[in-house]
Amino acid sequence: MTDISSKMSASLETHIERMKQLTFWSEDLIVRKTRIWLEDRSIKAVLFYFDGLCDEKLIYSSILEPLMNRPVLREEDGGEAPDLLDLLLESVLTVGDIHKFGSLESGLQSLMSGNVAVMLDGFAQGLSISMAGWEQRAITEPTNQTVIRGPKEAFTENIHVNAAMVRKIVKYPGLVLKNHTVGRVTHTNVSVMYIQGIADESVYEEVARRLGTIDTDAILESSYIEEFIQDEAYTIFPTIQNTERPDSVAAALLEGRVAILIDGTPHVLIVPALFVQFFQAAEDYYHRADISTLIRGLRYFGLFIATLVPALYIAITTYHQEMIPTQLLMSLSAQREGVPFPAFVEAMIMEATYEILREAGVRMPRAVGQAVSIVGTLVIGQAAVEAGIISASMIIVVSITAIASYVIPEFDMSIAVRISRFFFMGLAAAFGMFGIFIGINVILLHLSSLRSFGVPYMSPVGPFNFSDQKDVILRVSQRSMKSRPSMFGKLNPFRQRHSRSTKRP
């Protein structure tokens, strides 16, 4: 106790002066003086909070009103003076989340998260009362991971709302939430969620350990955390999944994985993440198994198109013309008459044009959107071909590639695919098919060497696991999804035990 009182001087005026000093006389720090009436005397009190972070109405009704309008406090209600704070906490303030703080610095820290600090004249400690009530975005539909059938709510920037959305889905006491604070300056709240008894706790411990090693001043988005805690930095493939869908997080938790929620972003990280999971969309589980399986197949097909088609086009048309059916060769050849560039240069020009258009589409102000798309369509769609600079077949190749890269449900993976496309194009231009197959081997070896929080990235394909094949290319019916993925859910392997057939005998 002596320690604390040395840190906090007892006089109210000193409290105020110290607080102002700590915030460098920032003018959005509100200092509200009041008085608490005891039987024989009154004690001066002060409320600190930041303008805009707190719900002012709640301050009036839950703090000021009980303090000021309450009939005189008697000593026997609270006993000795040092316990006056406990008395306030226990029987005066009508608020849920209150805790005592011992130093002004920690009190100040809680103000940043929208708390109100109450301090009394002559008391070393103060009360920090949760009054957070800033303006925030409402829960909206997901903008990136949309579905036709399935829940249509997405995470918001508020970590408390996000955690609540998950807990609302998983109504199970074993759903554990642990708080961490990361960032020397931003003090960003990071919550880690997992389900006790399903998730391997060593994964949580590893997450906590890695979060603890982060030494940076700011965490502004989940990608900051992702880059700090991922297993392998030198890879184009994402080893941590992110989602803006609470149902995806719930599903991941139920598979025995760990979710990391970061304040200030609607993207939640999920670890460990496997290669195949980047091809599983939430909607796969909301439609019937047959169509979901077909669509999965289509996605893997899309992966190959998006990665290899420009490379194959370059390789085949510049090295292996004998592979093209005669009729096709003639029409390709006719289109190339008069095209001044080699196929590789032609492909690079078109890919670059497409990437520029795509980037411009994301980055431009909404108002000029139409202008960019019209120019883009005309330039790459028509003028280039009519001018004879680019062959029409190349336009087809680039378009199908561009579209195919977006059938991959996770944007991170489609970025990886886009990067590897250029790698393959280079190989194709220099070595033809031979180069492409060498490149495929390189990528496969690299993928097999990756791990995500200790789990082999390519499992259950890399280390093959027969029972896990139910959710790789196939999406078997819910009735057959009896066990959790063996990579994460070893502790509690069964989802269902006796699902009886509903067929009539």
């Binding site: 030198y234 510049t318 004998e322 003639m330 050849s333 008459e337 033809g432």
Partner: protein, 403 residues
């Protein structure tokens, strides 16, 4: 970590620098190729005269622009002691190097074929650029070059026309045989069968045939026709089979897919029969030291056309037709066997191979002068015909009327 990062960067940079060192070696753009679809080989004064038909892609494929201004193909011709030289020499007139992977046909002039084509085919089977699935053809009575000059309707590329008409004709009419380079070499190498090659000729006015006028007419002045089978002994051509004999040949070697034949009715008029299935078996056996050859043919036919008064509802009538059809097929086969044994004294069916399979010891003994033994051996031909269907009507409507 920094050491690892440095190494990583070093590795990436090294690989990135190695990359352009290959300099796109061996690269050819599509518009640098002269896609040749047909090759003609003739012999002129002890030199090979090589003719190629090269596609003008813009003429063949493009939907708009230049189409119609040029011929769809262009011909290049040179002579050389070797064919390889001659082909390379074409660059004195051609702006692009001849690209032969998409070759559909190779036409050999009859004169060269009679002298022997073994040497001419060496390059074709040796060069890596050539597939061996193109058709070999003999230009009947003319130089190969003449065939490759004719413009044809329906197919823009004459070589494609020839290729497709052989395949179609083989499927539905039968007296042609599609022989690829592989087939030829296999037959040439096997001691129990001599090779054959399909023949081709130009009919009509070849002078107009080489002009675009030819395809502007409803009835083209010149046409390219399939014409029977050329028989080879080793690599030398020894003669032609007629159309009937060519059909008989296909009956014997079991390559009939479908064809149409006719038989005469008892009271005049004809009946056309469509062969829908044919199965034959060649047998060669040595009995009491004598070589005997046999051909068993099972044919399944449909009635296709009836020009006489027959009551097709009667089983006996159908049986009668079957018997006649058997005689007809037997006649075709015997004609062919006859010309093989008497005229050519050459086994181009593969009875030798049949004997080799059934009686290797006897084959070893007979093999050195197999063609002589073959020519002297008695042949028994048995044909069994089944008529299965009579089409969408039973009796001819003319018969119904008379009743």
């Amino acid at each position: 970590m920094t050491i690892r990062a440095n190494r990583c960067i070093l590795l990436v940079m090294t690989v990135a620098l190695l990359w352009p060192l290959t300099g796109c070696w061996d690269r050819r753009e599509l518009n640098e190729l002269a896609i040749s679809v047909a090759l003609g080989i003739d012999k002129v004064d002890d030199k090979y005269q090589v003719t190629v038909q090269v596609v003008q892609p813009a003429e063949v494929a493009s939907q708009k622009g230049g189409a119609g201004n040029y011929a769809p193909v262009v011909m290049y011709q040179t002579t050389g002691i070797t064919i390889f030289e001659a082909i390379r020499k074409m660059t004195i007139t051609s702006p692009r190097k001849i690209y032969a992977s998409h070759l559909r046909i190779v036409v050999i002039g009859e004169q060269l074929a009679r002298e022997g084509i073994g040497n001419a085919l060496d390059l074709l089977s040796r060069d890596y650029e050539l597939r061996t699935d193109f058709f070999l053809l003999v230009a009947k009575g003319i130089k190969a070059e003449k065939v490759l000059k004719i413009l044809v309707p329906l197919e823009k590329i004459p070589a494609n026309k020839i290729y497709n008409s052989i395949r179609t004709s083989e499927k539905v009419w039968a007296p042609v045989t599609a022989v690829t380079l592989d087939d030829f070499i296999m037959d040439y190498e096997s001691k129990g069968k001599n090779p054959v090659i399909n023949g081709i000729r130009v009919t009509g006015n070849a002078e107009i045939g080489i002009k675009k006028e030819n395809v502007e007419m409803i009835q083209p002045a010149a046409r390219i026709k399939n014409s029977g089978i050329a028989v080879f002994r080793k690599d030398q051509m020894i003669g032609w089979l007629t159309e009937d004999q060519s059909k008989g040949y296909n009956y014997v070697i079991n390559t009939i897919k479908s064809t149409v034949g006719h038989i005469q009715c008892p009271d005049g008029g004809y009946v056309a029969l469509e062969v829908v299935r044919s199965k034959s078996k060649m047998k060669a056996a040595v009995q009491n030291g004598n070589l005997r050859l046999a051909v068993d043919i099972h044919v399944e036919e449909n009635l296709g056309e009836v020009q006489c008064q027959l009551d097709l509802t009667k089983v006996s009538v159908i049986q009668e037709l079957e018997r006649k059809a058997e005689l007809r097929v037997k006649d075709l086969v015997e004609q062919t066997m006859d010309s093989a044994q008497k005229k050519f004294r050459c086994d181009f069916f593969g009875f030798g191979n049949a004997l080799h399979r059934s009686n290797p010891k006897a084959w070893k003994k007979l093999q050195p002068d197999w063609d002589e033994h073959f020519a002297e051996a008695p042949v028994s031909v048995t044909v069994k015909v089944n008529i299965k269907r009579t089409g969408t009507i039973g009796n001819s409507f003319m018969l119904d009327r008379e009743e």
